[in-house]
Amino acid sequence: MPPIFVVLLVICVWISFLNPRFATVPGIMSFLMRAAPAAILAAGQLFVIVSGGFDLSVGSLITLVVLGSSMLIGGDPANTPWVIAVMFLIGIAVGVFNGAVTSWLKVPSFITTLGMLVTLKGFALLWTGGAPRGALPNNFRVFGRNRLSGVPLLDEVPYAVIILLVVAVVATYLLHRTGWGKQLIALGDNPRAARLSGVPTAKVRILAFVASATSAVIAGILLGGFSGVSTNVGDGQELGAISAAVLGGAKLLGGRGTMPGAIAGALTLQALFTLLNLLGWPKPLRDGLQGVIIIGAVAYTAWRERRS
């Protein structure tokens, strides 16, 4: 079992020790609900990371989804379905752009998506005039904050958890069970060999960015539901997603990474925050410790690889 699952387990046990309610079904459900956006984002990011790239634009895309949705819906719940559809289209367009610029113009994805980060944030703020405007109707927010009741055994299950579960299953299947996923990992491992093996590198890579952007749209919908409209809802999410993937054993610059690992990485970060919160650490210090832990995890992986 990859070390991240052990770490996750240890932290969860520790939390339950401090707060027995955590180990109950409702406790786990609310934990997963809070972790869902980050975990979904990490799942999407992993596609890009194993291909050897980065997607820094997801945080801004989340902001754009939240602000854009509130602008387009304009308070009329009847608009929600088509607005969500439009958001997915925007996400796909952003993903295609990121992938195409990286593949064809040979701009390193770090830069492409950095540019996109700046542009999308600017666009979102331009749209709303720089302040959070409007509110999201309940039929939009339902995904992020409501629960499905009457589920056997579990009683109430948050929609966010169901969505996370679906995303996890689909993403795991795509990365580990399809030809695309395997080609994506091979591309990240050795782009030259992949190209010489006939891998349609541009197509394969563009799809990875589409997957990442799609995950950001989903995360945006959940975050908008969970915490409402704000202009900084997406800030820093991209680095959190990269950290989660790396904690889950993904190798930066490609070639290695597992979907369960990345999702576990995101859950671990969330659990760590929960734990430190219970221990009474102030938020800034929790962020600080996160930095140390990411370095430690990567250093440990590097050390283990050197040893073998």
Binding site: G179, K182, A186, D189, A193, S197, G198, P200
Partner: protein, 513 residues
């Protein structure tokens, strides 16, 4: 080839050695690269190191250069034991090395490359005027100053001149020992002559030179002593004047050449043409006319830079033909990218298996299926038809399992994985470039047998190689490249001399088909 070309001017062969290696052993995972090898070189002497690829020459050299530390054995310089923890220390001790792979920075100038790490300093800053002056002097001493100027960027120089920059760089150390690894691989005859003169000049200045090459002509021209390595062991050290090239070959491969390679194709094995090129050309190739038929192995010989590897790259769509026509199985095709070639079931395998063939962190299974997957819809299930176990058996792969990462396989087995990758999609035109380079002798023979059995099963094989014995031993026909063209064609069993004559542009070849 004469055994003792210019023995009139030999180096000194007396005096104590300046550098001695005693009982050096170096192991890598799964292979003993050097096994108790002893070796020495004296000041004013050229000591040649020969052996097939994979015999341990480059490992020995990297130990000399401080890149690897030996597992056993001692290094003595001037009789004192030495050890290096960093290449820098080897240089400090007076051992400088010209590696076969270029160690130059393409985006830096010639002068900056030559004096990298030893830039002259004046008042705390790099003295660029002196850097240029010193470089110019060195280049003049090499006699290449009319071609190479200190301020040129290395990336703008042709390969042969980059090699000269490498040599200038090595000379710029006031070294006691100079190790040259295949220094002439990329040079034209004239440049080789120039280099030979230089080697003699340096020898006469009292430098100890270790000269690694598998070109016997050069070895006999400059070497005083020759040490032969085989499979990581030393076969022996002989005086160059006492042996003939045939003696050396026997020492190198340990058996007569003809017993070593599989049989040639019989006439009835040969089928219809699978690959036909007419008037093919691009930036570096011109007027390529070539037919490869089912069941035959066509060897492509030629010096580095002759267009030998470029020919394969053009067919495979890496640097595609811009002129001429290509017919595959009788159909005219256009191949503009590797993807086109792969779709047409052309396979490609090079000596750079780690860079061009394999995803090293992935298991055997995923590597073998990579091409297969590339040809199927993206969202198709990853596993399924062809049986990976069967393919692995077909190429006689020795791995701990199909889930073993290919980075842990030996070179020979890695190359077999690349081969299996193409068999998985039934590629029937196979392009090989130095397929056995850097692979130990036994695995080499096994790959040679594999290539022959592929030909026997009806595949058309075009094999470029830098090793003439391999070309001669394997090819049913040999085309020889020179200056971007096919300079001539020779039948199976042609001699090294015949090939070299064509490869150096000396005469037209006889046409056998």
């Amino acid at each position: 080839m004469k055994a003792n070309g210019s023995s009139a001017e030999r180096g000194r062969r007396d005096g104590p050695p300046i550098l001695e290696m005693q009982g050096i052993t170096k192991r890598f995972p799964g292979v003993v690269a050097l096994d108790g090898v002893s070796f020495d070189v004296r000041p004013g002497e050229v000591h040649a190191l020969v052996g097939e690829n994979g015999a341990g020459k480059s490992t020995l050299m990297k130990i000399l250069g401080g890149v690897y530390a030996p597992d056993e054995g001692t290094l003595l310089l001037d009789g004192r034991p030495i050890s290096f923890s960093h290449p820098w220390e080897a240089q400090q001790q007076g051992i400088s090395i010209i590696y076969q792979e270029f160690n130059l920075l393409p985006y830096r100038t010639v002068a900056e490359n030559i004096f990298l790490g030893r830039e002259p300093i004046r008042r705390g800053l790099v003295d660029y005027a002196r850097l240029r002056r010193d470089s110019a002097q060195l280049l003049a001493r090499l006699g290449v100053d009319q071609w190479i100027e200190p301020d040129m960027l290395v990336k703008d120089l042709p390969v042969a001149r980059q090699q000269l920059v490498e040599i200038a760089k090595a000379l710029s150390f006031s070294s006691k020992v100079l190790v040259m690894d295949e220094p002439t691989a990329a040079l034209t005859d004239r440049e080789v002559e120039l280099l030979m003169g230089l080697v003699r000049q340096l020898r006469d200045e009292g430098l100890a030179i270790v000269y690694i090459s598998h070109r016997f002509k050069e070895v006999f021209e400059v070497a005083d002593r020759i040490t032969v390595l085989k499979d990581g062991r030393k076969v022996g050290t002989v005086d160059a004047a006492d042996v003939t090239p045939d003696d050396l070959i026997r020492m190198m491969i340990g058996r007569p050449l003809d017993a070593y390679y599989p049989e040639y194709a019989r006439p009835e094995d040969i089928g219809p043409p699978l690959l036909e090129i007419k008037g093919g050309g691009n930036d570096v190739l011109d007027d390529i006319n070539l037919t490869v038929r089912a069941g035959e192995i066509v060897g492509v010989a030629g010096l580095q830079g002759s267009g030998r590897t470029e020919l394969l790259r053009a067919i495979f769509g890496i640097q595609p033909f811009t002129r001429g026509t290509v017919r595959l199985r009788g159909q005219e095709v256009r191949i503009r990218s590797p993807l086109d070639a792969v779709r047409l079931r052309i396979g490609f395998l090079t000596e750079n298996r780690k860079e061009e063939g394999l995803a090293l962190l992935q298991p055997v299974r995923d590597n073998i299926l990579l091409v297969h997957r590339a040809l199927r819809p993206l969202l198709a299930k990853a596993n399924g038809a062809p049986s990976v176990a069967e393919l692995a058996g077909q190429v006689d792969l020795r791995a701990a399992g199909l889930d073993q990462e290919v980075q842990y396989l030996s070179g020979g087995n890695q190359q077999k994985v690349v081969l299996a990758k193409w068999l998985a999609v039934d590629a029937d035109v196979l392009l090989f470039s130095d397929p056995t380079r850097g692979i130990d002798v036994n695995a080499k023979a096994s790959i040679h047998r594999l290539i022959r059995s592929l030909a026997q099963s009806g595949k058309a094989i075009l094999m470029a190689s830098s090793e003439l014995p391999e070309i001669i031993g394997m090819s049913d026909r040999i085309v020889v490249m020179w200056d971007g063209r096919i300079h001539g064609e020779l039948p199976a069993g042609a001699t090294e001399a015949e090939i070299m004559a064509l490869a150096t542009g000396q005469r037209e070849g006889r046409r056998s088909t």
